[in-house]
């Protein structure tokens, strides 16, 4: 059993004739925000979905806090919360009702978790409105709150600020930034290089299903002798 939050070794996945991942390896440490960055179709979402037990790997292994996603999926699900890029809430529930529904799976008395979720969502009185009446930004904040309120050991966030306005995106980023601890990590994917640079302790650049560069944003910029992470991205995916 490794001490890593996430250990990915030789991960491969095909969808019919399309190779989504081929020999992908990386490691996420505890108390770390790890960014998975790459062009569309590079394999980011597939990696996160395998890590979340949604998809199975054709080859390779993924461990989350020592639990193998293939052989101990329920242990992995206990440790993670996954926020997909395109996610929604049950429209017939209020924001609070949705938080209560999710929290019920993680605690016998979910009151404390729900209150933390309400605080994280920061939707004011609108928390008692049906989620069908929420804007995209409000729904995203609710979903992020529902993901973090249970204090998962690993928060897997696929494009966490997708569709949010500047103010909402900034508030969400602050919540994510404060999340890691000795027992908690975050892995996220994003197309927003400024966001990645601001949030992530380390970044894995993924291209055509393989990790092509890993390091801190500063180290990567230095290594490729460019101005910023966006330039690194352009270099390695060229």
């Amino acid at each position: 059993m490794s001490n890593a939050a996430v250990q990915v070794d030789g991960l491969a996945k095909r969808f019919g004739d399309v190779e989504a991942l081929g020999d992908l390896s990386f490691r996420v440490e505890p108390n770390e925000i790890f960014g998975l960055v790459g062009p569309n179709g590079a394999g980011k979402s597939t990696t996160l979905r395998i890590m979340s037990t949604l998809l199975s790997a054709d080859e390779g292994a993924v461990e989350v806090f020592g639990a193998d996603v293939a052989t101990a999926p329920n242990a992995v699900r206990e440790a993670i919360r996954y926020l997909p890029e395109e996610a929604g809430a049950y429209e017939n529930l209020t924001g609070r009702g949705f938080l209560e529904f999710v929290a019920g799976f993680y605690a016998d008395d979910p009151t404390g978790l729900v209150e933390r979720g309400v605080e994280l969502a920061d939707l004011g009185d609108r928390i008692t409105d049906k989620t069908s009446e929420y804007s995209k930004g409000m729904t995203r904040r609710l979903l992020l709150a529902s993901s973090l309120m249970t204090e998962p050991r690993l928060a897997i966030l696929d494009e966490p600020t997708s569709g949010l306005d500047v103010r909402n995106a900034r508030e969400v980023r602050d919540v994510i930034k404060d999340y890691p601890s000795a027992e908690r990590s975050v892995i996220l994917s994003s197309h927003n290089m400024l966001e990645v640079e601001y949030l992530c302790d380390r970044v894995g650049l993924i291209n055509e299903g393989e990790i092509v560069a890993v390091g801190t944003p500063t180290a990567l910029v230095a290594e490729y002798d460019v101005e910023n992470l966006e330039d690194v991205f352009m270099e390695v995916t060229a």
Partner: protein
């Protein structure tokens, strides 16, 4: 609250939303409305017909005809030597629906013995509906009694001489004698063999539709991936979807079956076969077999729907994908209504027996009149089929397909259907 109950509650809450439940409730309302309409017509037909009489003949047979009408109808208008149009207007004003005109040669023709006495009957239909048409026709009913009364008077014959032939009916149903006419059987056929299969089909289709809706909602709201990464076993999610959808489906089907039953009894379809001999009565074991057959059919349909629902892109797609289940459930019910499946040619029988939804449709008929062993074997087959379908659903939920919606070689077909 356990994870299972929390998920069942969530399913039921999502499916009981007006957009899903109102279209289902609309049909029962129509049936109840129609039932009330037919019930009203029945009440109307039970009342004495309201008749106007124009009596232009003073002979004895005209008197007998008038006496009969006065006994069996409510004569709201009586006059002589007026035009038919005037009589119709006056009868309508007095609430009558039929005018009977007895011409002046009525008794003379009967007495002559060569020609029947002829009356003119004018029916007044101001309300063009079942009630209006049928109640207008009621005015002719006393004529058959008058025929017998006048015939007895003319000939001096006794009632036995007037109706010299009568019958005592015995019916052999698959070798078992029943001291009743076949019409009793037809009443049983109406209630047991038409109503029950239709009700069963409704249960299967509604439950299937509910679970399809459930998957459609998850796909449309994009909640499935979140749900699947929660610390809940996939088989618990599958079981909750099956139970939640079955509960709502049974609720909807129960309301619909109740309204259909009300509608059917309003049509006076008889006593439900109560006149059948004891040999055809259903016992406790029979009801248990019917119950088991219906239950397993619902479970199998739900599991099939859940498997198909995985490939539904949205709720519209889900509605289309429920079609194969509707066909599989509806075909045996339709066939068993109009034919005896057990006497069909072997290839057809084989096809029917291969469909698990055939057995609940056949069960009432076969348990009453035929082969209990066939239904018992069918229930066993249904059990195997239902377990296989639930197993398939759990397997699909444990696979990538629940996320990717990839139906493999069937992808093109599912995509084409949902376009």
């Amino acid at each position: 609250m356990s994870d299972f109950l929390r998920l069942v509650k969530k399913e039921a809450r999502e499916l009981l939303r007006p957009r899903y439940i109102l279209p289902i409730l609309f049909i029962p309302i129509v049936f109840v409305g129609m039932g009330q309409g037919f019930g009203g017509i029945d009440d109307q037909l039970d009342d004495e017909p309201q008749v106007g009489l124009v009596v232009n003949d003073s002979g004895q047979y005209a008197d007998l005809l008038v006496e009969t009408y006065e006994e069996q109808a409510n004569v709201t208008y009586r006059e002589s030597n007026v035009s038919a149009n005037a009589a119709v207007d006056a009868t309508r004003d007095s609430g009558g629906k039929t005018v009977v005109v007895i011409p002046d040669n009525f008794s003379e023709r009967i007495a002559g013995g060569q020609q029947p006495g002829r009356v003119e009957v004018y029916s007044i239909v101001d309300s063009v509906g079942f009630g209006g048409v049928l109640s207008a026709g009621q005015g002719s009913t006393p004529l058959s009694t008058a025929n017998e009364v006048i015939a007895a008077n003319v000939t001096g014959a006794t009632p036995a001489e007037l109706n010299p032939v009568t019958s005592t009916d015995r019916t052999y149903v698959r070798g078992v004698r029943m001291d009743r006419p076949p019409s009793v059987l037809s009443e049983a056929v109406s209630t047991q063999f038409i109503f029950i299969p239709i009700a069963i089909v409704m249960v299967i289709i509604f439950s299937g539709q509910m679970v399809m809706n459930s998957m459609g909602i998850e796909n449309e709201n994009k909640t499935l991936e979140t749900l699947l990464t929660m610390p809940v076993k996939r088989r618990t999610i599958v079981a909750a979807k099956l139970v939640g959808s079955a509960a709502v489906g049974l609720f909807a089907a129960g309301i619909l079956a109740g309204s259909l039953w009300y509608y059917q009894t309003s049509l006076s379809f008889g006593d439900g076969g109560a006149g059948l001999p004891d040999a055809f009565a259903l016992g406790g074991v029979d009801y248990a077999l019917i119950g088991a057959s219906v239950f397993l059919a619902v479970i199998a349909a739900l599991a099939m729907a859940l498997c198909l629902g995985i490939f539904a892109g949205d709720q519209q797609g889900a509605q289309v994908l429920v079609f194969p289940i509707a066909v599989l459930a509806g075909a045996p019910a339709a066939v068993s209504m109009f034919a005896d499946v057990t006497t069909m040619a072997l290839p057809f029988r084989a096809v029917m027996y291969a469909i698990p939804f055939t057995y609940p449709a056949l069960a009432p008929k076969e348990l009453m009149f035929g082969d209990s062993l066939l239904i018992a074997a069918g229930v066993l087959y249904q059990l195997v089929f239902a377990v296989a379908m639930v197993g398939l659903a759990v397997r699909l939920f444990n696979s990538d397909r629940v996320v990717t919606g990839d139906a493999g070689r069937l992808s093109d077909i599912f995509s084409s259907l949902q376009r």
